[in-house]
């Protein structure tokens, strides 16, 4: 008798927990799809214009007060390897020699997704998608689990592993603190001599991108990469060749990364609610002995 009462108290506790957790995670379960903040800014990156001058890398380094690079920014020998963003380089340019076409260059940085995977995977809510469009990071709460690095489909966040006392995630923040908050374009966009990057509202850039494709028949692949990829990204790309040939995943999913885990997350409060009764029932069915009593009704067994 005593056991059952305690047990029912346990059930109630579980039920309350289930309700709390389902309220807290209700955002993930009940929401439809998020189309983006209406005035979110974006950047259209035209790969046909980039000449690989690396001015954007230099500007970013200066604007974000990054550590000294290993090589000067006018050193083109870096193109012999395919690089990725690091704790010291929030944006880099890679060179792609495509058969039958000229050499193309691609600028790589955080794409500031509409429903970012990094944000969806962070258990301390360190990431925020601002209404200006930037995905920013709160260094004060980051524990260093690096789930965001696992989740990002573009492999952008870099962890400052070399810091013993304050290692943090480092990535492009769309120059939010110094520029985007005031509506100004980021440093890389401003310095680019070829206007590889066009800055504006994401919604306007989508129209612009498609217009540009239409105005230049045959010049571009008829796809605005990032319009739909992983739920839409603020930084979108135009290319004259297949995106797979310039190191991008042409088969990336259109659903945001969080949709991969929504079903499992929705299952959580179900288990919290159903398992107690289910296994109590199993217990009652399994442990009735011959004279119809349960073992523990007669007192504790050691």
């Amino acid at each position: 008798m005593i056991e059952r009462r305690d047990f029912l108290k346990g059930c109630l506790a579980c039920g309350v927990t289930a309700a709390t957790v389902s309220v807290a995670s209700g955002k993930a379960m009940a929401a439809g799809s998020f189309e983006g903040y209406p005035d979110a800014m974006g950047v259209l990156v035209d790969l046909t214009r980039c000449v690989g001058c690396r001015s954007c890398e230099a500007a970013c380094n200066a604007e974000q007060k990054l550590p000294e690079p290993d090589l000067p920014f006018d050193d083109m020998s870096v193109f012999k390897d395919k690089r990725r963003t690091t704790e010291k380089a929030y944006t880099i340019v890679n060179e792609y020699k495509v058969a039958d076409k000229d050499t193309l260059y691609r600028k790589i940085q955080c794409n500031h997704c509409t429903e970012p995977a990094c944000l969806s995977s962070c258990f301390v809510n360190a990431y925020t998608k601002t209404k200006e469009g930037a995905v920013i990071y709160n260094a004060k709460v980051c524990v260093g689990c690096r789930n965001c690095m696992i989740a990002c489909p573009f492999n952008i966040p870099a962890y400052s592993y070399s810091s013993p006392l304050n290692p943090l995630v480092k990535k492009c923040i769309f120059c939010y603190d110094t520029r985007l908050k005031d509506g100004k374009p980021p440093a890389c966009v401003e310095i680019c001599p070829q206007q590889v990057m066009t800055f504006g509202r994401r919604a306007d850039l989508i129209k612009l991108g498609h217009d540009r494709i239409q105005a230049n028949p045959g010049k571009y692949v008829d796809k605005l990469y990032g319009e739909k990829a992983v739920g839409g990204t603020s930084w979108m790309y135009l290319s004259s060749v297949d995106f797979d040939k310039v190191g991008m995943d042409g088969h990336i999913q259109n659903e945001p990364i969080i949709s991969n885990v929504k079903d499992f997350l929705g299952f959580v409060p179900m288990v919290l609610s159903i398992w107690p009764a289910l296994f109590t029932g199993v217990h009652l069915l399994a442990t009735k002995n011959k004279d119809g009593h349960h073992d523990h009704e007669e007192g504790d067994h050691q």
Partner: protein
């Protein structure tokens, strides 16, 4: 200890609350820690154990490297793995050890929920296996996290509830408490605090059900974590719909077989510590556990195949990775099934024990494959962790083994703690039970 006891056969290893003479004074904590030996005797028996020499070498090399990780930063230990952010500490220490520690909720529920009290001799070992595995998984986390002092942050500082890791953090924290409570009965007996034991015993059913709930969710969640990176895990190891089920179902045979393996090691290397009940019932219980494990394994094999059919990934089986997949399934699942079922059929505990080894290796290999070896498979090279990372992993795992052994030496896990009626005078047992207890203790 075995050699020591052979040389000194009349030594009384502490197995009871009180000294076994007329006065019956309770053992002190220090005496209990040294098992009734003098400190010199204890040290001499420890030195003569070759395993301890191996541990000494591991710790001599490993502890400085472990401390170096904190002084010089993570990159000194693991390099700068930007693309493979999770290495051996997590793939082995957390993802590998947690399914093998599912024995806690399985044995706990077998006894408390399903009423199978015949499993009681091995129940405490299953529960201890559970809590130690989770505790050391958290220790591995403390090594891996960039800022481990911020571990409580997802509880009390900043919530990110849409993250699967949030669920894992909360569940592991809650589940550790549940397991601590379940383990505490052995601890309270050892300390001689009967009130504590009685208090916990009252919650046994609730704790067991809580254990099932929490384990279902976090074992599954550890699999769901990989669904954040669908393109990065090789398709043969990834299922968009069923990943969490793969991990949950495979944790069941993993935990049961870990108990078989540990109990086998215990009965062979710590025979002096196991009481007759344990020794006599072990073979039968191991075969019973094998029955459960083999059902888990055949289910797991089926759902892995269903997952491949569901996303039509058969073509991958013809590749190099496909061959590796067939090795993982062939060795870890199919061979294990053959050994376990042959052992059950022929009542051969030796075959069952062998099958238990192949099962736990298979489960750990699967976790290493999902989170390390096939991770970023499209980049064309397998991430091999640097040597310091390997050293630290071996070191922490050795601490786990040493802790496990220390508890098994002392606490009443493999044997029943002898008490007298007077120890329980605060309670009111039934008259029949008193007479029974007196009769038993006077034997």
């Amino acid at each position: 200890m075995k050699q020591f006891l052979t040389r000194n056969p009349n030594t009384q290893i502490i197995s009871s609350l009180r000294k076994d003479d007329d006065k019956g004074r309770p053992w002190t904590l220090m005496e209990k820690i040294f098992l009734g030996l003098t400190p010199q005797q204890y040290l001499s028996q420890a030195m003569s154990n070759p395993l301890n020499w191996i541990f000494a070498v591991i710790f001599l090399i490993g502890f400085p490297v472990l401390i170096g990780r904190y002084i010089f930063g993570l990159s000194w230990a693991v390099g700068d793995p930007y693309d493979n952010a999770w290495g051996l500490f997590l793939a082995f220490g957390l993802f590998g050890m947690v399914p093998l520690s599912s024995s806690g909720f399985q044995l706990g529920s077998a006894v408390e929920v399903f009423g199978r009290h015949d499993f009681e001799p091995i129940e405490r070992l299953g529960i201890l296996n559970g809590i130690l595995g989770y505790f050391f998984a958290v220790m591995f986390l403390m090594v891996d996290l960039g800022q481990p002092w911020r571990l409580p942050y997802p509880m009390v500082v900043s919530w990110g509830p849409e993250a699967v890791l949030f669920l894992v953090a909360w569940h592991v924290a809650t589940y550790l408490s549940v397991q601590a409570a379940e383990t505490s009965t052995a601890f309270f007996e050892w300390m001689g605090w009967p009130a504590g034991k009685t208090f916990v015993k009252k919650m046994a059913l609730g704790l067991a059900v809580a254990g099932i709930i929490l384990s279902t969710l976090h074992q599954g969640a550890l699999g769901a974590l990989s669904t954040y990176a669908p393109g990065k895990v090789h398709p043969l190891w990834y299922s968009s719909s069923f990943q969490w089920l793969y991990f949950f179902v495979s944790s069941l045979p993993g935990g049961l077989c870990m108990v078989i393996v540990v109990s086998t090691i215990a009965v062979k290397t710590m025979q002096w510590r196991c009481d007759d009940t344990f020794k006599n019932s072990l073979s039968k219980l191991q075969i019973a556990l094998a029955k459960g494990a083999s059902m888990g394994l055949i289910t797991y094999l089926t759902i892995r195949l269903i997952g491949i059919a569901h996303d039509n990934k058969w073509a991958y089986l013809g590749t190099g990775w496909g061959a590796w997949w067939m090795f993982e399934i062939g060795f870890g699942v199919i061979l294990s099934l053959i050994l376990l079922t042959a052992g059950i059929r022929n009542n051969s505990v030796a075959l069952v024990r062998l099958g238990a080894w192949t099962t736990i290796i298979g489960v750990v290999l699967n976790r290493l494959n999902v989170y390390m070896f096939t991770f970023n498979w499209q980049q064309g090279h397998v991430h091999i962790p640097p040597i310091r990372e390997i050293i630290i992993t071996v070191t922490v795992y050795s601490v786990y083994i040493v802790t496990y052994r220390a508890i098994l030496y002392r606490w009443p896990i493999l044997f029943k703690w002898k008490t007298r009626y007077s120890d329980y005078a605060v309670l009111e047992p039934q008259p029949a039970a008193i007479a029974e207890a007196e009769a038993a203790s006077s034997k």
